[in-house]
Structures are given as C-alpha cells and as structure tokens.
Symmetry: C2
Subunit: 153 residues, 2 copies
C-alpha cells in the first residue's frame, strides 16, 4: 500500500498552515462563471459595472474551489485523505476581483478518531482566505478525514 507523507496524526489541534499565492485572472473568472455561475457580475464586464458590485467579481464557488486547489498543492495530495463529509459557515466576506492573489491560513480546530471507523481520524479546520492587501475575503470551516498512520494497511 502506498505510503503517504501525512496521516491524521499530522493535523493536531492548533496546527497552522499557510499556503497559496494563486492569482485569478479575468479569463479564469469568466470561464468559471460561464460554466457554473453565469450571473452578469461573474461573466460580463459591462453588466458587472452596472451591478451592485461595480465590476467583475469571482463566483464564491470559484474562490472555494481555488482554496481547495491550494490545499491540494500544499499537502493534501501527499496525505492519506479519505475525503470530506462537509463544510460549515462559508462566508464570502469581500469580493474577489480579477488580478487578486489569494492565500489561505488553515488552523486545526478539532481532531478525533471516528468511533465507527477507528482506522480513520476526522479533522475540523478553520479556513481564512486573504487577498494581496491582507484583507480577509473568505472564511469557512471544513471537515477532512485521514487514515491513521498506524492503521492496519
């Protein structure tokens, strides 16, 4: 069985990881918007100027997906991940504009072994996403499941 770099034991309560630094271009925003969230302020520059946002902004689902990608690149692809049952309390605090560079600070809030599956541990993380001006643009709390390092393989 493949050996991973990270297991449940590597996500203790209080652990903090900073990662990211990806920039969303105008094209990235419009392309995602056309496929998944074609509201005018996500796909049409001129209509966006006339909207409540005053200009083109990224779909909130795209900023969530980008945070996911940054977590994959930072450590998740090297981790014994068993997926996620869900996410809580997503808050899209400030709009994300074309050219914004985003980073994530992830803090482990809770870590426990699953009673029903003792070879798997659950982690609850706080996600804080910031732009290049260090303004917080998003908050969420997500669950992740990981195999335990000493689980029978």
């Amino acid at each position: 069985m493949k050996k991973f770099k990270y297991y449940w034991e590597d996500f203790p309560v209080g652990a903090v990881r900073d990662f990211g630094g990806k920039t969303l271009s105008r094209d990235d925003i419009v392309r995602f918007g056309r496929e998944y969230d074609p509201q005018p302020f996500h796909v049409d520059e001129e209509a966006a100027k006339r909207s409540v946002f005053g200009g083109l902004i990224a779909s909130g689902w795209q900023t969530c997906a980008l945070a996911m990608r940054m977590m994959c690149d930072a450590y998740l692809l090297d981790a014994a991940s068993a997926g996620s049952p869900g996410v809580e309390n997503i808050r899209w605090i400030l709009p994300v504009h074309p050219g914004d560079t985003l980073r994530v600070r992830l803090t482990v809030l809770e870590a426990r072994v699953l009673q029903s599956k003792p070879h798997i541990g659950l982690v609850r993380n706080k996600w804080e996403m910031f732009n290049q001006k260090d303004e917080q643009v998003m908050h969420m709390e997500g669950y992740g499941m990981f195999l335990r390092r000493d689980a029978p393989g």
Copy 2:
C-alpha cells in the same frame, strides 16, 4: 433600471422550487478535478478504483457549483439578485459518479429585510440535491440577497 421577474417578495418562507436535471460526464468530472481538486479519485480512473471510493467521483465543490448553475438556469438570472453572504452546513452525503443526473429541491427557510439596507431582503434556503435514483447526495443551507420589488430604483 432593468425590471426583473423575481424580487425578494417572490421567496416567501415555505416556498419550494424543484429544478435541475443535469448530468455530470466523466470528462466534466476530470476537467474540474484537474483544475481545482486533483485528488486521485477525482482525476484518475485507475487510482480511483484503488481509493476508498472504489471509482471516479466528482469533487464536492463541483456538485456545489453545479447546483449553483441549476439555480441560475431555473430562476436566479431572472431575479434582482444582490449576491450571497455565504452558505452553511454543506454535507456531501453520497458520492456523485460519472453519468449521474442531479436535481435540486430548494425550500425557503427564512426571509427578512436587512435592517441596514431596507431596500434589500435576505432569504435562507435549504438545498437538497438528489441523483437519478432519488438518493440524496448533498445538503446545504444558503443565503441569498434580493432587491425588494417596491424599492426605490
């Protein structure tokens, strides 16, 4: 100012809307995975077979984004939307596989006018997503803001 078909008044507590019927193909799943969530079980058929899921499944973020798209097509593009402050309690209950056809039942849980912006109303919706076997694959609760029909324009 553009006149819309739907305003805040069109989303009273208890209102139910059923919509959707989109199918996620293998290509849709892999393409989203490569861009936003490249875990093996979202991008690599063979690796997915060896994973805890036993086969390729869609990223949970893609199922959320697809629900968003189905809401856009059902009514949001005809509504005086003022965006969303967030979403709560996302639960990815069952995996979504290639070829699954998904639909959404949306129920209004709460509707109130914003004290700070009395021309805007807030709606809290329960989202239930089902596959073609009528199994529930996702649950979430989302907020939406809409202009009031009689707001000064």
